[in-house]
Amino acid sequence: MSNDPLLQPFQLKHLMLRNRIMITSHEPAYPEDGMPKDRYRAYHVERAKAGVALTMTAGSASVSRDSPPVFNNILAWKDEVVGWMKKLTDECHDHGTAVMIQLTHLGRRTRWDKADWLPVVSPSHEREAAHRSFPKKMEDWDIQRIIGDYVDAAERMKAAGLDGLELQAYGHLMDQFWSPLTNDLDGPYGGDLDNRLRFTFDILRGIRERCGEDFLLGVRYTGDEDLPGGFDAKDGIAISQKLKDSGLVDFLNVVRGHIDTDAGLTDVIPVQGMRNAPHLEFAGQIKKATDFPTFHAAKIPDVPTARHAIAAGLIDMVGMTRAHMADPHLVRKIIEKREDDIRPCVGANYCLDRIYQGGLAFCLHNAATGREETMPQIIPAADARKRITIVGAGPAGMEAARVAAERGHAVTVFEAADQPGGQIRLTALQERRREMISIIAWRQAMCEKHGVTFNFNTFADDADVLATNPDEVIIATGGLPHTEVLSAGDDLVCSAWDILSGDVKPGQNVLIFDDAGDHAALQAADAIASTGAKVEIVTPDRAFSPEVMAMNLVPYMRSLQKLDTTFTVTWRLLSVVRDGNQLRATLGSDYGGVTRDRLVDQVVVNHGTRPLDELYFDLKPRSSNLGEVDYEALTSGRLQDVRANPEGTFRLFRIGDAVAARNTHAAIYDALRLVKDL
């Protein structure tokens, strides 16, 4: 038996959890018709197979019709959920993983213009900033109806064979009752703390009566709203004690903060560049005060921090949820003492930011997550060893090299710079984005393990590639910033990359024109503004930085607002001319009929990249497929078999930004999808 604190079993009432690592509730938005079907099940089973002790399914499955999903949540109010949940639960149980689910009513944290167009409800008229709905203040029959819905939904989960469930109480209806900020009701459900908790205890009592003692119950709740006028940590300890003393719950699952704004949400679930494990000590205080089984998660991406949380007795079960999105086999690698092989979560938060925009949760650098049915988490060996030559060691090239090497091929990589990384290296130059480099460092370590040959400082030409006598050639050369978008003055502007790399020194009074809307513009703004310079970001879009998304924007805003950066939307940079020793930038509008001038000393244009594709086109006539990709084969996981040129001696492919400017996930998915079948 291992003496690793993380691998010690945990006895939760009658249930033995096999180790201390759990996946906390999160909604990857994979349901189809509100049901956790094959894709959803495959996602959880992949992690169960690798040893996680407990998976808390659903990100707040909805118990009522008037809690329509905000990001494709599971509909726990439908009876048909039982069959789907049973299938998922049975399969996870087969692999030794306990299964629970989080139930919720979103209250005001949703919208009225969804599903049945029912009014949004809350114990007050206060609107939530994030979802913008003005709620109906709940009546007595709303309260009784929803209590009944919770109990019915719990019964469905019991029928599906789950080990238990937790109720969501941070930002949803349950803690909208708890908080004085969002509960205007008179008794019996409003007023003092006991009244405000009555809704919760009515539900817990109802579930306990319906589902019995052997169905585990818990609450995932905020123990401190961290808002003026809200309940604080002292109240949180009191609530924790009351939950324990009620005898109705079997565990506490603690978070800290409030989620009604993007910034609040991001403090509860911190992203890249923010502190690791910021609420771990607080969760430890709750456990200490209650001496009751306590679970916790909040940016605990690495095994040593998780191990500390358990070894120091701060909590009983540690949630490594985003860490499991990046590496579903995290627990197995701990068991096998291969922690260095764990694909690290870099906190890029692509997963969460996407679901809040209505997309599916994908990991920025594990393209197989959420695609378990079609993409391998463990790369299968190839039938025959081939020589694969890859040009470019950015995210696309490094993923291609890793996958090819793990398939057993002989892999050669050419890279123009003296280090791998490409655009990742550039973005990671900035302190807050430093974690990004792990995307490359992990791949480099895997490539070294599998004997990939790297040629750095080599700006490869066709002769270099052909000298490797390749069977397959993959061009992953990325792109260069494209700034020539003006009617005049293209020669007077620089790119956001020029600022980030240090090739161009920041000016004193700077206009940044950003219609790519990605990180580069904000990073450049940050770099320039932090020298004390004046910065205005101009975009023709209705909102700035659309590709950065809500939670990733938070650290930027916390920096840029303090530095007095101006954001100007719906204006487009038309031209730049010299004016004395300054630059005159003329702005126009897509709505027409207006122009405005700005007098500045530097203009930065962020307009994405254009492919570096010279080598691809040099090689194309000599390739057997003439560079063509069979999209049917690609998307259905079959071998590429285009033979357009019988004289060709190798096949040629292009991936990532060398094709067209996209993002890191696209580059890595391009590579995995193609190379897993080569």
């Binding site: 123009a416 710079a417 003296d418 280090q419 290296r425 550039l426 130059l429 004997g451 040959t453 790297f454 040629n455 750095f456 400082n457 080599t458 700006f459 990325g478 260069l480 990359w497 020029d498 790399s501 240090g502 090739d503």
Partner: protein, 252 residues
């Protein structure tokens, strides 16, 4: 003024070195190699002096295997103007010792008419820390080693050196040899556009024989051993027990 900067291709500082089974040295086959970090600082300083208008040209030179041209490309991408590769070895495991390097550098400095040599204070592979000093002696120039600050004016260099217990500022007449310490500057990032520009910069290839120097080693390596692995620790129950143990092994 022309500044000459010698750069060495060494095992990358992130790589965990492995000793070859026969104990003859560190295994360098298929290992990531990079520019010696002290030399990167030297290249950066030379480029800054050029940007300040103190120097007209920065010439980088590397002596060793042909693959060292990769290292020179890095220096060119950072902003050096041209490069000279002096091939003095065929095999990556063949070392060229400081004296031979210094002799070749002296010849290159004379040939190129360099007014200043900025070199790394040592290479992170062999840690000899001798080349700069030998070079100054061979050229009969002044030397300022372990520089953490350099100011050049009126044909003289004012150099702050990191010495035991503090900083020492000295003044040397040019031409001179300066060796760089860690805190002199932070080397710049070589951007892709600059890597592309560097492709077109001249890289001249020479041999040790062109400078009349025999690069054969004069030292014989008897053995190379890896450091001993860390022995297992013990868990102590109390602070008292810890203090007792520390006394026992005589450290307190």
């Amino acid at each position: 003024m022309k500044i000459l900067v010698p750069v060495k291709r060494v095992i990358d500082y992130n790589v965990k070195p492995r000793v070859k089974p026969d104990g003859s040295g560190v295994d360098l086959a298929d290992v990531k190699m990079s520019m010696n970090p002290f030399d990167e600082i030297a290249v950066e300083e030379a480029i800054r002096l050029k940007e300040q208008g103190v120097a007209e040209e920065v010439i980088v030179v590397s002596i060793g295997v042909r693959q060292a041209q990769e290292t020179l490309r890095t220096a060119l991408a950072m902003g050096a103007d041209r490069a000279i590769l002096v091939v003095a070895a065929d095999d990556v495991h063949q070392t060229t010792e400081p004296l031979a390097i210094a002799k070749i550098l002296a010849a290159v400095a004379a040939e190129q008419g360099a007014g200043l040599v900025i070199a790394g204070k040592q290479a992170i592979d062999s840690d000899m820390g001798a080349t700069g000093q030998m070079l100054a002696a061979l050229l009969g120039w002044g030397q300022a080693t372990f520089a953490s600050k350099i100011a050049i004016a009126g044909g003289r260099a004012t150099v702050t050196r990191e010495v035991d217990g503090g900083l020492q500022t000295i003044d040397v007449a040019l031409p001179a040899v300066i060796t760089t310490d860690l805190r002199l500057n932070e080397p710049r990032y070589a951007s892709l556009p600059n890597i592309m520009k560097a492709k077109k910069k001249p890289l001249e290839e020479k041999t040790a024989a062109d400078y009349g120097v025999d690069p054969a080693p004069r030292l014989e390596i008897l053995a190379t051993r890896e450091p001993q692995g860390r022995a297992a620790g013990v868990r102590l129950a109390s602070v008292d027990e810890l203090v007792g143990k520390l006394k026992e092994i005589g450290v307190v």
